[in-house]
Subunit: 337 residues, 2 copies
């Protein structure tokens, strides 16, 4: 009202000083009231004045200023995957976020698309996160971990297949998945087993250990079978199937398994008589196909569990560089094996 000329000049963001001015108190008082400081007694009328002023101005504290002053943040950095990770991991991630928020952390998913490990680590470090939970998209080197720690990270947790020096190596070992699948097939009498390796980028951190896990099982010969997630690729693989001399296949996960199984059947092969097919992840969709898809059911840690581990690591930053296997896998036989 008082200012008639108001060009699209963005109105200045209200600060705590503005609140103080409006309430007729000092900035210190504003801070005390808004943060419910217990060490200081503020009269009820003053509290109300301050709150009303804050409300009226639509005051929102400036996170950067606050953490600058505090010397630390409550940010937990969650590097975002750029590959579709499937419903299983999505659900886990959501649970994790929720649990972390309950513990009063600010979860920031940071997409690291197209960044190298070094670039990513630097970019993350700029935010001064108190913890980083790297789920494997980017392989952190010991040097990267050091960068993060030097920037104040009290916990760096990797979930990739391998431990990293200096990190709280929380191993979710995907090789177990491959091992269960192969063992399942071997139990059923199969000896020549193909293992699908997705050609899509970014899945190596899952596919490599799954393949290695299968290889670790005694009693079978393992062949790696590169395949892309497309009908063409599956058809091409199916077309040369008879020449491969395989009697079973672990198809990386349920999605690749469904694709390949369809291609094999279209090629005139019988499942499971001519070739047994097993996937992984126990997707609901796998039960809709005929034959129903056998799978490896994967049990991830609960988000709560991991969140508490993080919280503990943050509070007691003793070098708890321990290997922990938080994943479990079990084969489920349906009709395709």
């Amino acid at each position: 009202m008082s200012q008639s000329s108001k060009p699209p000049q963005p109105a200045p963001v209200p600060t705590s000083a503005d609140v103080a001015r409006l309430a007729g108190v000092s900035r210190a008082t504003v801070s005390y009231v808004l943060n419910n400081a217990e060490a200081v007694r503020i009269s009820e009328p003053t509290r109300r004045k301050v709150r009303r002023a804050a409300e009226e101005l639509g005051y929102v504290p400036h996170a950067a200023a606050r953490s600058l002053r505090a010397g630390h943040t409550r940010i937990v950095l969650l590097p975002t995957s750029h590959v579709p990770i499937g419903p299983l991991y999505s659900a886990f991630l959501n649970e994790l976020q929720w649990s972390l928020r309950r513990l009063d952390y600010t979860v920031v998913q940071y997409g690291s698309l197209g960044l190298s490990g070094d670039e990513a680590a630097r970019a993350w470090a700029e935010l001064r996160p108190v913890a980083v939970i790297s789920l494997g998209e980017i392989t952190l080197s010991a040097h990267n971990v050091a960068t993060l720690k030097r920037a104040g990270a009290r916990a760096v947790i990797t979930m990739g297949p391998v431990g990293v020096a200096g990190a709280h190596a929380l191993v979710m070992d995907q090789s177990e998945v491959g091992a269960r699948a192969a063992a399942h097939l071997v139990d059923l009498g199969h000896r020549r087993i193909g293992v699908v390796v997705p050609q899509e980028e970014g899945l190596e951190l899952f596919s490599t250990p799954r393949l290695e896990g299968a290889r670790s099982v005694a009693g079978a010969e393992i062949d790696a079978l590169p395949m892309a997630y497309s009908e063409e690729s599956a058809a091409a693989l199916a077309a040369r199937w008879r020449s491969l001399g395989l009697d079973a296949v672990f198809a990386y996960n349920d999605e690749y398994a469904m694709l390949l199984m369809r291609a094999l059947m279209d090629e005139g092969l019988r499942v499971p008589e001519d070739v047994a097919v097993v996937g992984a992840d126990d997707l609901l969709i796998g039960r809709l196909l005929r034959p129903r898809l056998s799978t490896v059911q994967i049990e991830l840690p609960t988000g709560d569990h991991l969140a508490e581990l993080v919280d503990r690591a943050v509070r007691e930053p003793g070098e708890i560089t321990q290997r922990q296997d938080l994943i479990s896998a079990v084969a489920v036989r349906r009709e395709s094996t």
Copy 2:
């Protein structure tokens, strides 16, 4: 070496002052060198000294301090969905992130799990993002938009089904999807059409407009069919199917469609003779079933496109409150209709 007693006291994070000290220059010079300031000429030897010192200390600038000083951030906030959004939207999101990063924005996905619109808006505002792209998980009120704008957001973009006052209402109208599906079924002679409405929370912003879209098509009677994403729920719906008197169903998306189609077939109904089924999203898996699933193929805007829209809005914060339809949908007939 010089300090023998080193308790687990976290080493202090190196600052630009430390770099300056080590390089034997002032903090100003450090800043100039590290930011490649063009307005100032710094001698090559000095540059090298500074860079070496920064390298040696593993110096990483403090994002909070920087943006505090600058008075603004380059953060684009992307509220994270807590529902599995499927490969289609995942791919779109990734592309968007990538494009924004190319434009030098810091993309921060902020999980808003369990927050109300007000709480979420406040939490986001604390980060002082320069732009917010809300994809619909949380319905932003005009008040929320105002909060964000007051906190310095120069662009607030909503992708929900409805425009929001004050926001750059970028409408990705899901009703088009429902309309296409219904029209497809009507074209094929169906008159009594069921529309599946997922019971899962968080999908309303997609499912409601899809239902409304179907209702908008002339020539058919539309029934809403609540259903959860589980075999039990699908079976229950299928069990009472004959009593519903429907001759076709638009099953929200391909996943629900596959589930329901299987249940219907298990119930002895023929697809498409007794009941036509159409999904949406054109998932690869839908082509693997028999009959192959008809679907509505959805064309999302490219990430590049949206990123540039955001960038323009940020640079010219004129109130471009315009409705834009960036989504297109087309029915694809396979075998289930």
